[in-house]
């Protein structure tokens, strides 16, 4: 396998391998919290931060505990536990020592525990055999890409609110259709870079 520059992985994770538009991961909070640009930006920042931290933690756990013991198959369950524990810990620390940040981001943290994009990134970096640096770049890129997607959707939804959408499609319905169209648009980026 060709050694990819972490920068390339970073860009690819935002545009061509966007968590939302190419993997459709993390959809629940993506649909639920995309009603306003400011809150969706807050959630996006929180997701990015948690992604960066958990990918490092899970990388270390995987390569220094699970691989030496031949327990690679345990990664699914261990990653879930470590993400949940980390998010809990982070919430407590933020609330105590950085109250302002907590009021901006902290309330989204319980949502992040069950955001599958977080688990997805940890698993992708293992499946794709990324190095430590590549994993880190990938996780930040995935976070930025996720933020980009949710903020863009929030912007569109703020516009849609003013339109007369057919009753049956209002809310998540039209949001999912919009997401599909956005994913088609993002396919246009696929010529830039490709990562597996």
């Amino acid at each position: 396998m060709i050694e990819l520059n972490p920068m390339i992985i970073f860009v690819a994770a935002i545009f061509t391998n966007n968590m939302i538009f190419s993997n459709f991961l993390g959809m629940c909070s993506y649909i639920a919290v995309s009603k306003e640009i400011s809150t969706s930006l807050g959630l996006g920042e929180a997701v990015t931060f948690v992604l960066a931290c958990t990918s490092v933690i899970n990388y270390l756990i995987y390569y220094y505990i699970l691989v030496p013991l031949n327990l690679e198959f345990l990664r699914f369950i261990i990653f879930i536990v470590s993400i949940a524990a980390f998010v809990q810990l982070l919430e407590m620390i933020l609330e105590r020592y950085l109250p302002n940040l907590y009021y901006a981001l902290g309330i989204f943290l319980p949502l992040i525990t069950v955001n599958c994009a977080i688990l997805g990134v940890s698993l992708f970096m293992i499946i794709r055999n990324y190095t430590f640096l590549q994993s880190f770049a990938f996780s930040i890129g995935a976070g930025v890409g996720w933020t980009l997607a949710i903020v863009a959707l929030a912007g569109i939804r703020q516009r849609i609110k003013l339109d007369s959408v057919p009753v049956g499609l209002r809310g998540p319905g039209i949001a999912l259709i919009t997401t599909g169209l956005m994913a088609l648009a993002f396919m246009g980026f696929s010529g830039i870079v490709q990562i597996q």
Binding site: T39, I61, I65, L66, L69, N70, L71, F73, L74, I77, I78, V81, S82, A85, Q88, L89, M92, I93, E95, R96, Y97, P99, Y103, I107
Partner: protein, 365 residues
């Protein structure tokens, strides 16, 4: 075999490490020491910080109404926080009106105790108690409405104002995996301190109503807390206009029972709205009240009668009957209990007759 053992051990160890980390964090980072809650500038409570205002108050036996059990989804547990609550969270905003925000209201389940805090709650809430009651009697009033009598435990008494409500807990049962509290107006008179009567209608898919109608039997234990509510009898000599539909009759019954027992000499009219004759109930009792009470008239009104029903009473919705019989709004006040469209239409009729809005008391459900 070996790999099963190793993986179990490793997974257990990792979980234990995370659990240990979290426990340490909970003891240190999440330890806010002892905080003081000042309630209404008079009562002071010294409690352990770190949990929500709602759960701490409940531990101190102060019951803030809450239907969802502190998940931040019902919006009932609003409390005025005067100082020390921190900024309002985004999770609370959907439940807050402009007025709530101006009055420093917070959802007590979302407000965490981190420092000394000053709150203001209605005096009545101090009167709220919890009761492990027992179902004493169940009567079918109509096909879908039951009258239930709950006997309070030995030594316990409840004191409430006629018109107030209690919360009944629907426990887990087959088909329901969520404990919820639902509010029901008390139908019995406040002079009965040893038992409560509630009128409960069946709503398909309703968690609590399914529990009451399909599972509850005489002798079963139930958990009740209360009383709550600012819909209650006002002591003055204005003429009373009462209107109710369906189970909304419950608080009106309590009002009438109270007036009858205390021989209160006020003119009162009760408009009972229903769709068909079989939806009306306790007609004999209201007829009896007409004879025994000072000046009481019972006016049932049906909105969907057919000729076969042989109905000789009023036809149409309650607002139509009120419009017909109520001459003017002079020296009158109104007590309404029913669903939102009914309340809205009746309020409209009453205000057009000249009853000021502040003298129209209602309980919407």
């Amino acid at each position: 075999m070996n790999s099963i053992l190793v993986s179990t051990v490793i997974f257990t160890m990792m979980s234990a490490i995370f659990a240990l980390l979290l426990t340490i964090a909970d003891r240190t980072v999440n330890n806010y020491g002892e905080v003081k809650i000042t309630i209404n500038d008079e009562k002071e409570l010294n409690v352990k910080g770190g949990s929500s205002l709602l759960s701490t108050l409940i531990e101190e036996k102060i019951f803030i109404p809450s239907a969802c059990g502190g998940k931040g989804t019902c919006g009932y547990c609003k409390v005025e926080v005067q100082d020390g609550g921190g900024p309002i969270l985004a999770t609370e905003l959907p439940f807050m009106s402009e007025e709530d925000l101006a009055n420093h209201k917070r959802l007590s389940c979302q407000c965490k105790l981190k420092q000394d805090i000053k709150i203001h709650i209605p005096e009545e809430l101090f009167n709220v108690r919890e009761y492990d009651a027992v179902v004493e009697n169940i009567i079918d009033l109509t096909e879908t409405i039951k009258l239930l009598r709950f006997r309070l435990p030995e030594g316990a008494e409840i004191s409430f104002k006629p018109g107030q409500y209690v919360q009944l807990k629907a426990p887990l049962y087959e088909g329901n995996d969520e404990e919820v509290y639902r509010a029901y107006s008390i139908a019995s008179s406040p002079s009965n301190k040893k038992f409560l009567e509630l009128v409960i209608g069946y709503v398909s898919q309703g968690i609590a109503t399914t529990y009451v109608h399909r599972h509850l039997e005489i002798g079963d234990p139930v958990y009740i807390n209360g009383p709550f509510g600012d819909f209650y009898y006002q002591d003055n000599d204005r003429e009373m206009v009462m209107a109710a539909t369906g189970t909304g009759v419950a608080p009106i019954l309590s009002l009438l029972n109270y007036m009858k027992e205390n021989d209160i000499k006020r003119k009162a009219r009760f408009y009972f709205g229903a769709k068909k004759p079989e939806d009306l109930f306790m007609l004999d009792y209201f007829k009896e009240l007409e004879e025994t009470m000072y000046d009481f008239k019972f006016i049932p009104s049906l909105s969907r009668v057919t000729e076969e029903d042989n109905w000789t009473g009023e036809v149409g919705r309650v607002d139509k009957a009120i419009n017909k019989f109520l001459e003017d709004g002079d020296n009158k006040e109104a007590y309404l209990c029913g669903n939102a469209p009914m309340i809205d239409s009746v309020v409209q009729v009453l205000t057009s007759k000249g009853i000021p809005e502040e003298l129209i008391y209602y309980d919407k459900f």
